[in-house]
């Protein structure tokens, strides 16, 4: 809503308050004023001049030489505007004048002819070209005949006006009208309000009933329809002041009839529609729902096909307007219009909202209907428009208004108790203060001590319950005056849940070992949705969950894996010379086994990582090495070790992963994620160097995590270390041997570590040597050599039998 400061002054005395100060006060009271802008930059020395004569320039076809009377003198001015003519009253920038855009007017010679000033267009005076009437858009502006020569144009053209742009919240539909704004400002400033002239002097003997009837078939969607008839109108430009206000409010003036309906729309917040009565071609208005597929050509010359629930105004035969949204071209007011049928109606907001959604048409009218209009202003707005049509279109208003009226105009009654106000606000406001606030709001009320019965005016449809009144009282009292207190009630320890705390621990661990956290989008595209999904997620046959109306194909599906987006961040960074990257992200993926969703998908919490390039960014004094499988495996093993959850790795072949460098992670025999190198084909497609990734199901880890490490005594007795190297087939997995040693060696073998893997000289082809270090320890005594030896032999025997391995000498 654009609010003209000068227009507002017609209803409320603004005193010495500047537009900026007013904006600040309104903002603090609840309606945010986004900007204050001025109609035009300041210009000086521009006055009304009378074109006494206008002759062709002797040396230039497109120029005219005009003698212009500016009051104290007559100036010769050369003018290039095509529409300049003798007898016009025009805006003249005198020599020495300054115009917007830092233009200074001087005496000059144009093609040898002296020119002492400039005749200006509205654009040159700084008005927004979007709102300048089309008939004067390309030339100079011509003032009405009665304009006084020599007068400054600043106030005549409202050039000094300021416009306050309101950012309205949906509840404040009342402020979609100048009157509504006036009530608000009057309450803020504690000033009275002056209402517009709503008197109507009917001279016509003819009644509107004689020429029109109204029939409403959908009473719930259209509880009030008022038809006024104005005969013998003269279509011409509307008065200058009205055009000025419309332009300030962002509406382009057209002609007096259309301008008056727009003016009253802005003034009262009540949409009106003017039909050309003769083109309407019927003595009967029928309001009904459209027949499915019914067609209408609207004012913008678009043919539109209507749905069955759309409310239309008809002449009994065909649709002549989409109710509350836009008129039809067939009954539009045009230059030749003589008789006007004026509609002032109340349409149901939800119905209009549906129409707007279905047609994609939104207008000043529909916006107001959607948000709700004041039932007590519908008829009054019609009368106000008739008053203006009489004055400015020389129309004759017929007696009576033809109405269908089933409109509920009752006020909301809200009970307000002073103590309850103070209990809720934490204040100590007394009853007289509340009474004063209600008076400022112009709400009528009955008072009995601390109790108020408030009759909420229908213009404030947003106020229906005590809490609504509470806000009104608080905002006029001033939020600034509320005290600062802290809650005194519930004593609760608060804090993080175990799950939240563990999530933080996992993140801290991953950051501690060198990974940077990223945050990527949950929405992905049709290609990435099926990539790099962990086997245990895939097992659940997840269907890609997609948005009904995505913004783009790129962000259409809910991700099933964090990794594809994470890989894109690697590509993005590599393209910017960031080659060494170690990222991780903790977040949800969304799985559902339904093709058409009937319930929420399951959200799984996962930790994923992707690493590429050198592990150490600047490998000073150490080996220059790219990341490999074992760097990432070390990170993952470390995480499980940190959480004290045993994990095993098994070789796996997964789509998009390197077939020989990928493993699944298992906890208690169930897969909880995977790790490995990306398939080189995918690396190439993403323009990445060797990239290693992991993806872990955090939900399982959180469930499994004990949280309370149990105490185990630090061993008192010395341990014994024994090393052992096996020669075995190349195909045997070191981890399987390690597991067997642990199993056989228990309970004396506390720890088995691999410290060397060797192939080459002294080891035959197809074989490898793996060296293990075994740690023996007994909790209650010092182990003897023969005890260790016995266990050691048992291990050697078992490994030999199971894997056909022998000890390397």
């Amino acid at each position: 809503m654009l609010v003209s400061y000068n227009w507002l002054k017609n209803y409320v005395d603004l005193g010495e308050i500047t537009p900026e100060q007013l904006a600040e006060k309104i903002t603090k009271s609840g309606i945010e004023v986004d900007h204050v802008t001025y109609i035009a930059e300041k210009s000086t020395n521009v006055v009304v001049g009378y074109v006494a004569s206008c002759e062709k320039h002797p040396d230039a076809d497109k120029l005219n030489v005009c003698q212009v009377d500016v009051g104290e003198e007559t100036l010769q001015i050369v003018c290039g505007a095509p529409n300049v003519a003798k007898g016009q009253k025009v805006a003249v920038a005198l020599p020495g004048a300054s115009l917007p855009g830092d233009i200074k007017i001087k005496k000059v010679k144009l093609r040898g002819v002296e020119s002492n000033g400039m005749i200006c267009s509205l654009k040159e005076l700084g008005l927004d070209p979007n709102y300048i009437p089309t008939d004067v858009a390309d030339g100079i502006f011509v003032f009405p005949e009665e304009t006084v020569v020599g007068e400054s144009v600043t106030s005549l053209l409202n050039l000094d006006d300021a416009v306050l742009e309101f950012d309205l919240t949906p509840n404040r539909a009342d402020a979609l009208s100048m009157l509504g704004v006036a009530y608000e400002v009057a309450a803020i400033l504690d000033q009275p309000i002056t209402l517009p002239d709503e008197t109507l002097n009917i001279t016509s003997k003819e009644s509107a009933h004689d020429v029109i009837s109204v029939e409403v078939e959908a009473e719930d969607l259209n509880p009030y329809y008022g038809a006024f008839l104005i005969k013998d109108v003269e279509i011409k430009a509307s008065p200058l002041w009205m055009r000025n206000y419309l332009m300030a409010a962002g509406i382009r003036p057209i002609n007096n009839v259309v301008d008056i309906t727009n003016y009253v729309l802005l003034e009262y917040g009540q949409p009106l529609h003017a039909f050309d009565y003769d083109r309407f071609a019927s003595d009967k208005i029928v309001v009904r729902c459209a027949v499915d597929g019914e067609k209408i050509t609207t004012l913008d010359d678009q043919e539109r096909t209507l749905a069955a629930e759309t409310l239309v105004i008809t002449n009994g035969k065909e649709a002549t307007a989409i109710a509350g949204v836009m008129g039809g071209a067939n009954s539009e007011v045009v230059g030749e219009t003589k008789n006007v049928l004026l509609e002032a109606a109340y349409f149901n907001g939800a119905s209009i909202r549906k129409t707007v959604k279905a047609t994609g048409l939104r207008s000043e009218a529909s916006t107001r209907y959607e948000k709700g209009i004041d039932p007590n202003r519908v008829r009054r707005a019609g009368i106000r428009a008739c008053n203006l049509l009489q004055q400015y279109a020389s129309g004759t208003v017929l007696a009576d208004v033809v109405e269908f009226d089933a409109l509920d105009r009752s006020e909301s009654i809200v009970e307000v108790n002073t103590n309850r106000v103070n209990e809720r606000l934490g204040t100590e406001i007394d009853a007289p203060t509340i009474a004063a606030i209600l008076n400022r709001l112009d709400f009528t009320f009955d008072q009995a001590g601390d109790d108020f019965t408030v009759h909420v005016p229908t213009r404030r449809g947003d106020i229906t319950i005590f809490e609504d009144m509470l806000e009104e009282i608080a905002r006029i009292y001033g939020y600034d005056h509320l005290p600062y207190t802290l809650p005194v009630g519930v004593a609760q320890s608060g804090g993080l849940t175990g799950r939240q705390a563990l999530k933080r621990m996992v993140k801290n661990y991953l950051q501690g070992v060198g990974l940077m956290e990223t945050m990527t989008y949950s929405l992905t595209n049709g290609e990435d949705i099926s990539k790099l999904i962990s086997p245990e997620v895939n097992e659940q046959n997840p269907q890609g969950v997609s948005l009904a109306m995505p913004m783009s194909e790129d962000r259409k599906y809910l991700r099933l894996s964090i990794l594809p987006e994470l890989l894109h961040t690697l590509t993005y960074n590599q393209a910017r010379n960031q080659a060494n990257l170690a990222f991780y992200e903790v977040g949800n993926v969304f799985i559902s086994d339904e093709e058409t969703l009937t319930k929420q998908p399951t959200e799984l919490l996962r930790a994923s990582g992707a690493v590429t390039g050198r592990w150490v960014e600047h490998p000073w004094q150490q080996e220059v090495k790219d990341v490999d499988f074992f760097v990432v495996k070390g990170i993952v093993e470390g995480l499980f070790d940190f959480l004290q959850i045993p994990v095993t790795f098994s070789p796996a072949k997964l789509a998009d992963m390197h077939p020989g460098r990928t493993a699944t992670l298992e906890v208690d025999g169930n897969i909880v994620g995977f790790i490995g190198q990306l398939h080189p084909t995918l690396e190439k497609a993403l323009d990445l160097k060797a990239t290693y990734v992991f993806d872990i199901n955090l939900d399982v880890l959180i469930k499994k995590y004990d949280g309370e490490p149990s105490f185990s005594a630090i061993p008192k007795y010395p341990s014994i270390e024994r090393d052992i190297a096996f020669i075995l087939d190349d195909t045997i997995h070191a981890g399987d041997v390690q597991a067997l040693i642990k199993e056989v060696g228990a309970p004396l073998v506390k720890q088995v570590k691999i410290f060397d893997v060797y192939q080459g000289e002294n080891v035959e082809d197809g074989k490898k040597s793996i060296a293990y270090s075994l740690l023996y320890q007994h909790p209650d005594k010092t182990l003897k050599d023969d005890e260790v030896e016995a266990s050691y032999q048992e291990v050697v025997e078992s490994v030999n039998q199971r894997f056909n391995a022998y000890v390397r000498s």
Partner: protein
């Protein structure tokens, strides 16, 4: 013999003084005190002395030997010290060379902000609650006093999946879920951080995905002044003790009265500058007293219980606090951006 001994002492001490290598010093030790050393040689001749002379000379001989030994030891220690110094000097390194790099990761800026806010409110007794990112229309809208076709639904463009399922547009459904879980019978304080989604085109100030943190306190006799006091504590802890807050009336369907909170501009201290668009204030968050319909729908009796709620965007806070000027930067994950805020 006495003269002989004294001569040896003088000679030995001279030699010791003149030695500056450990090896030579060792030779001196052998030359005087060794089996074939000159002092030893003199002492061997003691047998020829008379009974009277023997103790006298013996005493002198001992003194001479002690003096030589002491001088040798002293000199030896000096030389060893010198040798060590020399060795250490040779071992010197260029300490201005860099150390061996350690890999250092770090949190995303938004995580840092969220955790800071979580810690701040858990310190005031709030619990942290989470909820699903894919929500039902009921919890995202209806339970929050936003029935279907309510004009206020236009305030948030929604990614629908089906007519009933959607990407949550705010974390408020977690409030509704929490109240419903407590079945209208429990007083509580909670905050709920999380990802939310809006049907927006991504640009410098809009993101189709962003984060939100909301807070909710439900109890008997919750006052609007409690909200003001709580937000004041939050603003001062988050942005600095010298910041002021200002509440303005606003509108949210789920609160009544509703507020918008501004903090005084850090740059101009309220005088008005380009950062605060000349107003002296910067909008930070929205909130209000829980709407009685919302309490009622969750099973709380609005006559007995009241509450306050507030919500804020960590992106906005990060942008204000750290001068990030494009919301997309949070989701592009440029390593140079991420690294800048690891200490945030």
């Amino acid at each position: 013999m006495k003269e002989q001994l004294e001569a040896i002492q003088v000679e030995a001490l001279e030699k010791i003084a003149g030695t500056d290598e450990i090896k030579t010093l060792q030779e001196v030790r052998v030359a005087y005190l060794g089996k074939k050393g000159s002092l030893t040689g003199v002492l061997k001749g003691m047998g020829k002395l008379s009974k009277e002379e023997r103790p006298v000379i013996g005493e002198i001989a001992n003194k001479v030997r002690d003096a030589i030994t002491a001088a040798l030891d002293e000199k030896n220690e000096k030389l060893e010290q010198k040798a060590l110094e020399k060795q250490l000097e040779a071992e010197a390194i260029d300490v201005t060379l860099p150390g061996k790099p350690v890999n250092q990761g770090g949190p995303h800026l938004l995580t840092s902000i969220v955790e800071e806010i979580e810690d701040l409110f858990t310190g005031m007794g709030y619990e942290v609650r989470e909820g699903p990112e894919v929500e039902t229309d009921y919890f995202n809208f209806e339970a929050l006093n936003l029935p279907k076709d309510h004009p206020a639904r236009d305030m948030q463009d929604t990614f629908y999946i089906t007519n009933e399922l959607l990407m949550r547009t705010h974390t408020s459904p977690v409030q509704a879920r929490t109240m419903q879980e407590y079945q209208g019978g429990k007083s509580f304080k909670m905050i709920c951080p999380g990802k939310v989604y809006r049907r927006d085109n991504d640009d410098a100030t809009h993101s189709h995905q962003f984060t939100q943190i909301e807070g909710l306190y439900v109890d008997k006799n919750v006052r609007m002044s409690d909200l003001k006091g709580t937000l004041d504590v939050f603003a001062k802890k988050m942005f600095g003790e010298d910041r002021e807050i200002r509440l303005r009336p606003s509108f949210f369907p789920f609160t009544e009265p509703s507020v918008e909170m501004d903090i005084s501009c850090k740059v101009c201290k309220g005088a008005g500058c380009s950062v605060c668009k000349g107003t002296g204030w910067i909008e930070i968050l929205g909130g209000g007293m829980v709407h009685p319909r919302v309490l009622e729908m969750a099973g709380y009796d609005p006559k007995e219980y009241s509450g306050f709620a507030f919500g804020m965007g960590p992106e906005r806070i990060a942008m204000l606090k750290y001068g990030v000027n494009d919301i997309r930067a949070f989701y592009t994950n440029d390593k140079r951006f991420l690294k800048q805020y690891h200490q945030a």
